[in-house]
């Protein structure tokens, strides 16, 4: 599949990734992604098994014992946060008053 990586497509993808690119970053990234995706298109020619048959051997993901453990203490969890107030993480307001 040949993909046309336009600056608009880069901006839309960056929006999905919550990445606010500067204007001068967009064109070089578009050109680089175009080149990389053109190379990856070589996979189109391959006949590969259906996804259902692709799980590695070894079976299901292991589960831990269902036993309570002490959590990370709140003070420690908050100690690395950029902004904290009243024992909570603080972010810009996102609900209208």
């Amino acid at each position: 599949m040949v993909i046309d990586v336009s600056p608009e497509r880069v901006r839309a993808t960056a929006d999905l990734a919550r990445l606010d690119l500067r204007d001068d970053e967009v064109a070089p990234i578009a050109a680089q992604l175009q080149k990389i995706l053109a190379h990856i298109a070589e996979l189109d020619a391959l006949d590969a098994p259906p996804l259902a048959d692709c799980a590695p051997e070894g079976g299901a993901t292991a589960l831990r014992d269902d036993a309570p453990r002490p959590p990370l203490p709140r003070d420690e969890a908050l100690s690395q946060a950029p902004r904290v107030e009243a024992g909570a993480f603080v972010v810009p307001q996102f609900v209208e008053e």
Partner: protein, 487 residues
């Protein structure tokens, strides 16, 4: 007397068996790092205080009559890649995003190191979030190859490889997602082992691509790598992909005799266009030496090898785009202030991530986005199954595979920075084993262009580390370990 950091781990470190105290060995390592590292850039930070405290603790235990022989790494000076969490010691993963972050816990592998008596000297330089093959994507400064400082040490665990090559640490931990331990080991003339996926706990390893990430040891010799591997391998309930099977005992005592009767497969797909002639010649000489020592060398085919780069550069960025969503400026790490929540997320991620990380987050987000998911991510997973099947079929007829580790010797700083695809294509020899999850190691096998080290890659079936390490020890006996570079 020889410098304590120039001796093999077994004779240099164990305080109960040598003339120097752990504190004296630790000071020797700190002095060497202070002298050499300003020109090499292996360490993002040296923890002199923590290292000396650990060394003094060992000496005090010895003084009190404690039997330190129970501790397999007693007194070993270890460098730890900055992608592994260290309690109370800053862990940046080579990124501005985590520049000031101090983890509240140790990674499982670091916990096991400390329990085994090792001394953590410091945190090593790396490509940001382990995305790169030269350590030039470090947000702080590039690491330099100790054989030629105008060249890269490889990456992403370049700092750990340099720390061992320059004998600033006895051994080092790195992480290998697509070759990030094997390739720098090859380029710096040391040994680097990527264990089987799931053999070493990923708990506390900053996540890049979770289906590929493996915590992996470096050493100057196969014995040293084996000692570090044995200390960190084993089940850990905190990592859901950690394997529950017991870790098999290692026996490296047979030396080159371990090669007698071993069926060794050589896949011509690894000797394709792009492989430098000097590297190919060194690898072929190593294979000939193995045959002379009694190995049965046979030609095999792994037909999907060339597609590993494309499959990897869809799967790894897709997983990374999901894993790196956690860096949002809320709970830890960098925050760029903005008036709205969405604005804060976007500005934080633009300011905190470097170019290569942004490129891979975008590539991964694109590959997972509506309308492209099946064509890219789904297809890449299906090709990954073909690559896994290549190895399964090959291992039906051979015990081990041998190949080059890197298609070139160490390349000049800056040579591939402007062309990300060229950098990706150079990972062609290491990516297949990563995608298949099988163990693989790089051992030095002579010199190439400009006298620079060349690495031989040996690959074994899942969980056959004992066979892989015994054969590697045999190769080392035949070819000799790489000496330290003149510094």
């Amino acid at each position: 007397m020889r410098h304590p950091m120039d001796m093999p781990l077994a004779t240099s470190a164990a305080p109960s068996r040598r003339a120097l105290s752990a504190t004296e060995v630790c000071r020797a390592a700190l002095d060497r790092a202070a002298r050499l590292d300003p020109g090499l850039g292996a360490f993002l930070r040296v923890d002199a205080e923590g290292a000396l405290a650990a060394a003094r603790g060992l000496d005090a235990r010895l003084e009190a009559g404690d039997d330190l022989a129970r501790l397999p790494l007693a007194g070993a000076v270890v460098a730890v890649k900055d992608s592994l969490c260290t309690r109370g010691l800053r862990t940046t993963c080579g990124s501005r995003m985590l520049e000031g972050w101090v983890p509240p816990y140790d990674a499982a592998a670091v916990e096991r190191l400390r329990r085994a008596g090792a001394i953590v000297l410091g945190k090593t330089n790396m490509d940001e979030f382990a995305m790169g093959s030269s350590t030039e994507n470090s947000a702080f400064f590039p690491a330099r190859n100790p054989w030629d400082r105008a060249r890269t040490p490889g990456g992403s665990s370049g700092g750990s490889a340099v720390a061992v090559a320059a004998r600033m640490a006895h051994v080092a931990l790195g992480s290998d997602t697509g070759g990030s331990v094997r390739q720098p080991a090859a380029l710096c003339g040391v040994v680097g082992l990527k264990p089987t996926y799931g053999r070493v706990s990923r708990y506390g390893l900053v996540a890049f691509a979770s289906s590929l990430d493996v915590v992996a040891p470096f050493g100057a010799t196969v014995d040293d790598v084996a000692a570090l591997y044995a200390a960190v391998a084993g089940h850990d309930p905190r990592d859901a992909t950690s394997d529950r099977s017991p870790v098999a005992e290692l026996d490296l005592s047979r030396g080159a005799e371990a090669l007698r009767g071993l069926r060794v497969g050589v896949a011509e797909e690894y000797f394709a266009e792009g492989l430098d002639a000097d590297v190919a010649a060194a690898v072929r000489r190593a294979v000939d030496a193995m045959a002379d020592a009694g190995a049965e060398v046979v030609s095999v085919s792994l037909p999907h090898t060339r597609y590993a780069v494309s499959a990897y550069y869809v799967i790894a960025p897709a997983e990374a785009s999901s894993n790196l969503a956690r860096y949002d400026g809320v709970r830890y790490g960098l925050r760029a202030e903005a008036s709205t929540l969405r604005g804060m997320y976007g500005a934080t991620r633009d300011a905190g991530f470097g170019d290569e990380v942004k490129r891979r987050v975008l590539l991964g987000t694109f590959a997972l986005s509506a309308g492209h998911h099946d064509a890219f991510y789904g297809k890449a997973q299906r090709v990954r199954a073909l690559i896994r099947e290549d190895f399964r079929a090959a291992f039906a007829s051979v015990d081990l595979l041998v190949a080059p580790t890197s298609p070139t010797v160490a390349f000049p700083l800056g040579a591939r920075v402007a062309d990300p695809l060229a950098m990706y294509l150079a990972d062609v020899c290491t990516l297949p084993a990563s995608l298949a999850g099988v163990p693989a190691i790089s051992v030095p096998c002579g010199r190439g262009e400009a006298g620079l080290p060349v690495g031989l890659q040996l690959i074994a079936p899942h969980f056959e580390e004992p066979r892989l390490l015994a054969a590697s020890r045999g190769v080392e006996e035949l070819l000799g370990a790489c000496p330290a570079p003149p510094l």
